[in-house]
């Protein structure tokens, strides 16, 4: 338990210290040192508990409860401060509702409800520990070099707010640990709100008008989700007289009708935080922040907390059809629609954002399906998405600082200009969408679980969405792969901290793909077996072995084989009207000279945001309203039945 406490408190202390540290060198030392400590401690926790099932720790403390209440009030205070300063009424109102609600909850309802096992871990928390402790801290290290360049690009008189930036990042990590280790749902809720606030502060970091608008959009949507969480807390305590997550899942499984409302409310909270449609706009808006923020939000924190919670709730989804249908449909529709919209984007970060939302949709759908196979697939989607997406964000961030653009069209010839970086980016892209890499293996398991559960709609959504996924990744990959003669290499000035973080993410991606059977054996299966009693691994071992072998070969080809050929080189074909073959210049119909250029296809008429986003949002809104209302009706009815039965017995 000491390790869990350390992992929660240490990043918090580091964060607070970083607020005060203004020296560049001191900050570097603290960030690198504490990242190494956190990562090592996380790995030690995982290594010493491989294959373990649910392990609870007897820990309950009124002091911690009061601390959580105080943090809740503090969060509301901070939001109110910014809300008043930037005149955002809605954010203020929601913050007030939330703080009043949580105070009433704490002093009227939760009073006297004791959670014996306050802290716990199981294999799913261990997976999250890995994602937070290794991927998350890796991004913090990367941010050192990135923010140095970022500050250099700012005007001379711009204030250096980097202490604030790094402080918030570490507090973010601490809050994530709190979420994954708390069995006490009130503590979990506190961590949940801290992540909301931290991302608000990080998104608004640059304080431009756009950044502030997007930060408020984020906080409004996530406060709505927070209110959903609060509704769940109220109903859990009223209906089941407990605040233990484990107890809730056990009792909810026994009385699925009663659990419908809290489950739907928690699912709603998860859906907002996982940026599912119609809430996807907050994650799209988050890309105005410096790239390490996006990397952190997309890969190791924030949205991952949401899918972590939903995967935890999967066994309940299996027995409560209404919240399950809501979760499945929102996830499935979001997956397909956001994959479609990604085709129409040329901004690399926007493509990444849409792909994140789409993949989260898939995980949400898996959680909604709730079978062992679906949870197995969802856990793997989470792992591979974390490593590959952070790799991609870090690569895009570095490319942006060196080629001056985050537009995919400008990444033409990156293979020559930044040869190593382009290869890492290509690796990240391939891990995201093609066999034999991990993400696709996980998608494959998803498909099987959908087929087994008779989820016709999900199969159709998955089929079309995956096809779109191929299109938008393949054309980006193609753009990167372009090779021309004599282009200047601009890679020399990339910071060492950036390289080391990128290298770690690339290594993790490859290792995770190759060792998928081992990860399954030691981390994912123990969790699934602990919950369902069966392993849920649905992909034949022989195929996993072939996939591992092919992955190895492709990685070797990508990093060692490409560009070694000694053939005679010739110019490209320009149909006989060329003026300068090497530079793709041809003679045009006016006898002048024109350079041949080819842009990618964005198919905006078919897959544009304008036509796609409203359809997806409206579908998801209808589904969610229906889901919550019907769940509430179920719970009321179940509650009525229970009272009737009790009164029959004269109780």
């Amino acid at each position: 338990m000491a390790t869990l406490g350390f992992l929660i408190l240490f990043p918090l202390c580091v964060g607070i210290v970083l607020f005060a540290v203004r020296g560049e060198q001191a900050r570097k030392a603290i960030v690198i040192g504490s990242s190494v400590i956190i990562a090592a401690c996380s790995l030690w926790l995982i290594a010493t508990n491989l294959g373990s099932s649910w392990t609870g720790f007897r820990f309950s403390s009124t002091v911690v409860d009061y601390c959580c209440t105080a943090i809740g009030v503090l969060i509301a205070g901070i939001i109110l401060y910014y809300g008043v300063r930037y005149k955002n009424v809605l954010a203020c109102v929601l913050a007030v509702i939330q703080v009043v609600g949580s105070l009433i909850f704490e002093f009227v309802f939760a009073h006297g409800v004791d959670v014996v096992f306050g802290l716990y871990f199981d294999s799913l928390s261990l997976i999250m520990t890995f994602i937070i402790g290794v991927v998350g801290t890796g991004i913090c290290v990367y941010a050192l070099g990135y923010m140095e360049d970022f500050q250099a690009h700012e005007p001379e008189d711009a204030p250096d707010r980097r202490p604030f930036f790094f402080g918030v990042m570490f507090i973010f990590l601490s809050a994530m640990y709190l979420i994954v280790f708390s069995n006490n749902m009130v503590w979990m809720f506190t961590g949940w709100e801290v992540t909301t606030l931290s991302s608000f502060l990080l998104i608004g970091y640059t304080r431009t008008e756009e950044a502030i608008a997007n930060a408020f959009r984020q906080i409004i949507m996530n406060l709505l989700g927070g209110i959903g969480f609060l509704v769940a807390l109220f109903s859990v305590v009223v209906l089941f007289n407990t605040l233990s997550l484990q107890e809730f899942i056990r009792l909810g499984g026994a009385y699925p009708m009663l659990a419908a409302l809290p489950l739907a409310a928690l699912a709603f909270a998860g859906i907002t935080k996982a940026a599912q449609m119609p809430f996807h706009t907050w994650l799209l808006g988050a890309m105005v922040a410096p790239t390490p923020t996006s990397a952190l939000l997309h890969s190791s924190t924030m949205v991952k907390a949401a899918v972590f919670l939903l995967l935890k709730l999967a066994p309940l989804m299996l027995v409560s059809p209404v919240p399950a249908a809501m979760t499945v449909l929102v996830g499935g529709v979001t997956f397909m629609m956001c994959s479609f919209m990604a085709i129409s984007q040329s901004n690399a970060k926007r493509v990444l954002a849409y792909s994140t939302i789409a993949n989260l949709g898939l995980i949400v759908a898996c959680a909604g399906v709730g079978t062992p196979e679906a949870v197995w697939a969802g856990a793997f989607l989470m792992v591979f998405h974390a490593v590959a997406k952070s790799l991609l964000f870090l690569c895009v961030g570095t490319a942006e600082h060196h080629i001056g653009s985050r537009d995919i069209e400008d990444m033409d010839l990156l293979f020559e200009r930044m040869p190593r970086l382009a290869r890492f980016m290509m690796l990240g892209i391939m891990v995201m969408f093609v066999a034999p890499f991990g993400m696709l293996v996980a998608k494959w398991a998803t498909l099987i679980s959908f087929a087994d559960m008779g989820q016709l709609a999900l199969i159709l959504l998955l089929g079309f969405g995956s096809a779109a996924t191929f299109m938008f990744w393949a054309k980006w990959l193609g753009k990167l792969a372009g090779v021309a003669q004599r282009v200047e290499n601009v890679e020399g000035s990339v910071h060492r901290s950036e390289w080391s973080a990128i290298l770690v993410m690339a290594a993790l991606s490859v290792l995770a793909c190759i060792n998928l059977p081992l990860l399954s054996r030691w981390l994912v299966e123990p969790y699934v077996v602990g919950i369902y009693g069966i392993a849920g691994q649905s992909i034949p071992m022989v195929d996993l072995l072939i996939a591992a072998a092919l992955t190895t070969v492709i990685v070797i080809v990508l990093f060692a084989g490409l560009g070694k050929s000694r053939r005679r080189q010739v110019s490209v074909y320009l149909a006989g009207a060329s003026a300068d073959n090497e530079n793709r210049i041809f003679r045009n119909s006016m006898s002048g000279e024109t350079e041949a250029t080819a842009h990618n296809w964005y198919l905006t008429d078919v897959f544009g945001e304008k036509s796609m986003a409203p359809i997806g949002s409206v579908c998801c809104i209808i589904v969610m309203i229906l889901g919550v209302v019907v769940s509430a009706a179920f719970t009321t009815k179940g509650f009525g039945l229970l009272s009737a039965v009790l009164s029959l017995f004269g109780l």
Partner: protein, 289 residues
């Protein structure tokens, strides 16, 4: 299916598929010529062509194209080996998609205007046929309880009896996969199309030879998928499957010679509508009825 069996399958496919594929390609040219009122080349002409390509100087527009093509060829053989050794149908679909991706990336890497247009179109074609491929695999799984192609050997009746909607949908996208007109947007054998060599514009000599061999292997694999619908526990069904496969191939050649190329909008819409209707009807039927 154990690993050794799959490996043997891959080796066997690597030897046999190019031979069969070469004969099929020759047959295609002979039949096409007859349909156009010509005598046409000898049956082994594709073999002579590839042999000649292999003897040419290895020159290319960059240092990476050939590596990508080699990967694409090897992966198409792996995909075929997995399928014909009775392995996982879905996995073979995924691997052949990866092979297609390397082919596309090879064209992109050349930065030639024609090749890039071909690569864009090829990417779009993959997007157009991929849903139908997935639905076919899922329907096969629902009908047989396994993704392994060997599962067909235990059927009491051929799969086509319950999977005919998916089979029709597959027939539709097969035209795209075989790159036959009217769906030969990225690369064509007919000189009257707007873009002829498209994706392979910059590939020459041994590299082009590899592309040809890859197409032979792919064609054998795709026709293998076609035959899968007609296999059941009776060993004689293999003969029936071969007859059907040849008929389908003849049909594809006939379509190729009788339709003009369509625009990409039509390609995408029609392929997705077909996939939606066939997938919905067939998978829904298998799941709920």
């Amino acid at each position: 299916m154990n690993l050794l069996f799959t490996l043997i399958g891959i080796v066997a496919f690597a030897v046999l598929a190019p031979c069969v594929g070469c004969l099929l390609a020759g047959l295609d040219r002979v039949i096409s010529a007859r349909m156009q009122g010509r005598v046409g080349p000898p049956l082994l002409q594709p073999y002579y062509d590839v042999r000649k390509l292999l003897q040419k100087e290895a020159a290319s527009v960059n240092k990476v194209e050939d590596t990508y093509i080699t990967c694409a060829l090897v992966l198409s053989i792996v995909a075929g080996g997995i399928f014909f050794s009775g392995g996982n149908l879905l996995f073979s679909i995924f691997i052949i998609t990866l092979s297609g991706l390397f082919f596309i990336v090879a064209a992109y890497s050349s930065r030639s205007p024609y090749a890039e247009v071909g690569a864009h179109r090829e990417t779009l074609q993959v997007m157009a046929y991929e849903p139908m491929m997935l639905f076919m695999a899922v329907a096969f799984y629902l009908a047989s309880g396994t993704f392994n192609s060997a599962g067909a050997l235990f059927f009491a009746v051929p799969a086509v009896t319950v999977l005919w909607p998916v089979f029709l949908g597959f027939m539709f996208v097969l035209t795209i996969k075989l790159r036959k007109s009217p769906f030969d947007l990225s690369y064509s054998h007919h000189a009257h199309q707007d873009l002829v060599k498209g994706i392979t514009t910059e590939m020459s000599g041994p590299t082009l030879a590899k592309v040809e061999i890859m197409h032979w292997c792919e064609n054998v694999l795709f026709l293998g998928w076609t035959g899968l619908f007609f296999i059941w526990a009776n060993p004689a069904s293999i003969v029936l499957a071969i007859v059907v496969v040849l008929a389908v191939y003849f049909l594809e050649i006939w379509i190729d010679n009788n339709f003009a190329r369509v625009k990409w909008q039509f390609l995408l819409r029609s392929a997705w509508i077909v996939a939606l209707v066939c997938g919905l009807v067939n998978i829904g039927f298998l799941m709920y009825l």
